[in-house]
Symmetry: C2
């Protein structure tokens, strides 16, 4: 955005930025509906056009024609590893360090349970008070299952390093906060935890595909992540898990299902863990979901990571500036870090009428989302959101506020999912 | 099969049986490849033709056009319950007693953990030595995670009732044995367990969709089952879990993810379990997989359960008789119960050359499978397997044995999945 004055930028400038955008060509690879400005790719990513062909192929040709033979003929059995290795390339992991399986929540359980076993003398899982709830709930459930010997200790996001002590078994954090977009310094926190003898688990749900992630560069022990946000894997896409190779031989799987057995098809009576990370697999892989996810991951692999981050930051900066400039008098308070190096690919504002404002925007085709109690959340998926989209989105916001459109009765009723 | 003499039955008789089969009309609802006789629907069910349209719709229209709004607009969020209730109708459960989620293995873990908490003073999970391995492995992993206070006790399938004692917390059995097809008496074993104060968990992987299941009629406490076998939900389809309503309020979820929270979208810091069985949900539902599974379940709901069982028994009886009559001299030993009321919808033979014989049959388009060490397994999905198919399958077996086709080198190499 060199040479562009954010205080005077207009639609024409935005269109010029789109024309010069090296990622602009990806937009046509997605099937986005007409009239929609989609600023919720951090909740559910858009549909890659080829995902439709690929799911038709896996259902019609692979399942329909190969039937049971598909497990070998189409390498269904290897998909957790194949797609996992591709995600590994997006996250600074080596081949064999990432597997696609289950949901993020289930993977959190697997890795938290494994981590506590690696630090049997320690009692504390340390997390962030405003972490995504499932990360906290899963830790709670595990601790209760284990009889309450452990403790989930919660700190503010800025106090994590100071809260790590000799009793910390595991530091469990989400790389980019789901509500505010605040970005943790993965390398610094991991180093601090390691100095204290603790392990670290990173949830990459809101970073992979939008923010550079270098798990091995940061020395991370474990990670989980989501397939349906910036990876564009489809609703309820399977999730992934990472464990650094140095831990593989010591990992004891709590969810010791047949797919994690050393010889799943020998049908032995007793469990023997597979050699590598495959021991963390549990049940039969979700083949159709894996096939759709692979399309999204392949598309992401075509894009340059540095360009993704640069564009994401530009979009965020532009959005924040335009809201400040054009909606300054309506009481929006920036809820994301003001320093763009400290935030992910989203901008959030707090507003007392956050819920109906988001609904009014959605009715206009500007899809962001609301997070209780008062957060308007806008995500910028750099593969398919453009600079002019940002201009138009703020234009709609101006209208919604000026005309008090948000005050209409139909925007007040809370739906269960937003 | 009234009036048909199995000792003299021929192809013409088989074709007459197909012509009179009230379930024959379902065959055309499946996309089965030409030249294939599919006797492996108990491993991966065939493709319902409409599953292709439905997955295209959920991907192209629902995901592509509704994007995040699909969670409410297309009721994705309710699919675990909607499809669960439909499976409930196939298994003698009430609405709200079945949920579709995760894999069978993960659901086993959830229910076993919950069951042990309901019987805190008891130490034993009792299972069958020849149970499907993942059922045993998951129990092992749970017991190890809990610190070894519990014990997995294994009995022979015929000795289960005698092995239940005052220390039995949970009896965990598969309704129809995956290798032999032996069918347990669900009501009798459940009653015996209850008299001893134990709970019972039934794995319906090889029964739902082929054998009558009446969970509440039998007084069952818990059940799990598979979506990709007789329910024809596609490779790696999501699985299901059942808990009798009398237990819901006391269930403490070990995998306490956000989807099982009383208010998932309030994003509270602490976990509060949902009111009913929904507390056993964990992560985000696998929407595409659920949509494909629903097609298979809907198709199964169109069929009459008594007709399914009657046809399945006829097919099994016919297959066993023809192998005995036409391949008697080749050393096949029936590995399934001889009494057809005591077996599910499959017939297994033990044979020292079981592996290459199965491979030779597959090369001829007769798809059954091999289960170590020496079992040839043939499943009869009554919705799409006909009587003439059985005749032709045995015809191929006769040729494979007579010509020693199985002895060819290409049939000796073991693949990892069969």
């Amino acid at each position: 955005m060199t040479g562009v004055d954010l205080d005077s930028i207009d639609l024409k400038h935005c269109e010029a930025l789109d024309a010069a955008d090296p990622l602009a060509r990806f937009r046509e690879r997605f099937a986005l509906p007409d009239g929609v400005i989609y600023l919720d790719g951090n909740s559910l990513g858009a549909l890659p056009k080829t995902a439709l062909d690929r799911t038709a192929e896996v259902v019609g040709r692979e399942w329909g024609e190969s039937l049971i033979r598909g497990w070998t003929a189409h390498r269904w059995i290897d998909l957790p590893r194949i797609v996992g290795d591709k995600i590994g390339r997006l996250t600074g992991a080596e081949p064999g360090e990432v597997l696609v399986a289950d949901s993020t929540s289930v993977n959190l359980f697997k890795l938290m349970a494994a981590a506590l076993r690696l630090r049997p003398e320690r009692r504390v899982i340390l997390s962030e008070r405003s972490n995504f709830p499932t990360d906290l709930y899963i830790a709670e459930g595990l601790i209760e299952l284990l009889g309450g010997r452990h403790e989930l200790r919660l700190a503010d996001g800025t106090d994590i390093e100071g809260a790590i002590d000799d009793d910390t078994a595991l530091v469990s954090l989400t790389h980019v906060n789901y509500r505010t977009g605040a970005l943790h310094d993965m390398a610094a926190i991991t180093a601090r935890a390691h100095r204290a003898g603790a392990l670290v688990l990173w949830d990459l749900a809101h970073s992979v595909g939008a923010v550079p992630v270098d798990l091995n560069g940061a020395g991370a022990d474990f990670a989980v992540g989501c397939g349906y946000k910036y990876l564009n894997g489809g609703p309820g896409a399977p999730a992934f898990l990472f464990a650094a190779r140095r831990h593989h031989a010591e990992l004891r799987p709590a969810l010791s299902g047949w797919m994690g057995h050393a010889a799943p098809f020998a049908f032995e009576t007793g469990y023997r863990p597979a050699q590598g990370l495959e021991r963390m697999l549990t049940g039969t892989p979700s083949v159709i979901g894996l096939a759709a996810l692979e399309v999204g991951v392949d598309l992401m692999l075509e894009a340059d990571g540095a360009a993704l981050r640069a564009k994401s930051m530009t979009l965020g900066r532009l959005f924040a500036k335009l809201v400040e400039r054009r909606c300054g008098r309506y009481g929006f308070r920036l809820a994301s870090p003001a320093d763009e190096a400290s935030r992910g690919s989203q901008i959030c504002f707090a507003h007392e009428h956050g819920y109906p404002i988001v609904q009014a925007l959605i009715a206009r085709g500007v899809i962001g989302d609301f997070r209780a109690p008062d957060i308007l959340r806008f995500g910028f998926a750099p593969l398919y959101v453009g600079h002019a989209d940002i201009w138009h989105a703020v234009d709609h916001l101006v209208t919604v506020m000026e005309s008090r459109e948000w005050d209409r009765p139909e925007f007040q009723t809370r739906a269960s999912v937003t």
